[in-house]
């Protein structure tokens, strides 16, 4: 009765991915952009876990561990860049970082 299949997880992953992408593309605050990137990586993990369960194969879970590793490193480096940007401009808004504009 009312079995939760792989498609339920895929739809949830797609919704979280779209929300995260919307945050990355529209927000000006770099902290929120980094948090949206974490949302996108989390939605990918949901898909990996759902397929791992459907196939009865652990490889999806192993891959999700590596995704979490990359997310942790990305958060550390991204927040380091954020602190450096804040020291330079005294703001966390992304459209202030225009040093490379020609």
């Amino acid at each position: 009765m009312l079995a939760i299949g792989t498609t339920h997880y895929l739809v949830l992953g797609a919704i979280l991915f779209a929300i995260g992408l919307l945050g990355i593309l529209t927000r000006r605050n770099m902290i929120t952009v980094l948090m949206s990137i974490e949302l996108v990586l989390n939605s990918v993990n949901l898909n990996l876990i759902a397929f791992s369960y459907q196939l009865g194969d652990l490889t999806g879970q192993i891959f999700a561990i590596f995704t979490i590793t990359v997310a942790a490193g990305e958060a550390a480096v991204g927040l380091g860049i954020l602190v450096a940007l804040f020291r330079l401009h005294n703001t966390t808004e992304l459209d202030r970082a225009t040093e490379l504009r020609g």
């Binding site: 919307l22 450096a84 966390t92």
Partner: protein
């Protein structure tokens, strides 16, 4: 009552945690104060961990709580408190070209709808015993994941540790005062 939970329990848990996850994600994107956004993000992380549990990924659920709910969330909260955000109040929330982002996400959502309409609810697990066994012998999920990680995927595991070292050095160099 017992039959009701046996029939609908997983579905109720899935929809409840999925609603919390989506609500938290929406609040991350729409909140002006990043502190509220970070706490909504924590709600999303914890519900995703619960959704991992519903798919027999016990180890991943615990790792999700530790790494996302613990490490990454503390990092975000520290940085939010470190930078001074009082000036944010008068500035606009969304960027100058955010309509491009809305168009891109709208097209992506249309693509998702086109993919998911007509897709069934998905086959149930072929053999979920495979998620908690080593060579057919039944063990716990943690033991099975560890076995696969340290035998078949040893080289990627070591490269991941090297990656974390590089990320740590990078974060220290970037955060250094000069």
């Amino acid at each position: 009552m017992a039959e009701f939970f046996a029939a609908y329990g997983v579905a109720i848990l899935f929809y409840a945690f999925a609603a919390i996850a989506v609500g938290g994600a929406v609040m991350v994107v729409t909140m002006r104060n990043p502190m509220y956004g970070a706490l909504s993000l924590l709600a999303t992380f914890l519900s995703v961990a619960a959704l991992f549990l519903l798919r027999n990924a016990e180890f991943l659920a615990v790792v999700q709580v530790f790494v996302y709910g613990g490490g990454i969330m503390v990092l975000f909260l520290f940085v939010i408190m470190l930078v001074n955000l009082h000036r944010l109040k008068e500035s606009s929330l969304f960027g100058e070209y955010s309509f491009v982002g809305v168009v891109v996400v709208g097209l992506l959502a249309a693509l998702f709808v086109a993919i998911f309409v007509g897709l069934g609810s998905g086959a149930p697990a072929a053999d979920d015993a495979g998620l908690a066994s080593i060579d057919g012998e039944a063990v716990g999920n943690v033991q099975a994941v560890a076995w696969r990680l340290y035998t078949d995927h040893l080289l990627p595991f070591e490269i991941a540790s090297l990656f974390l070292l590089v990320a740590m050095i990078g974060a220290v160099v970037l955060g250094r005062k000069n």
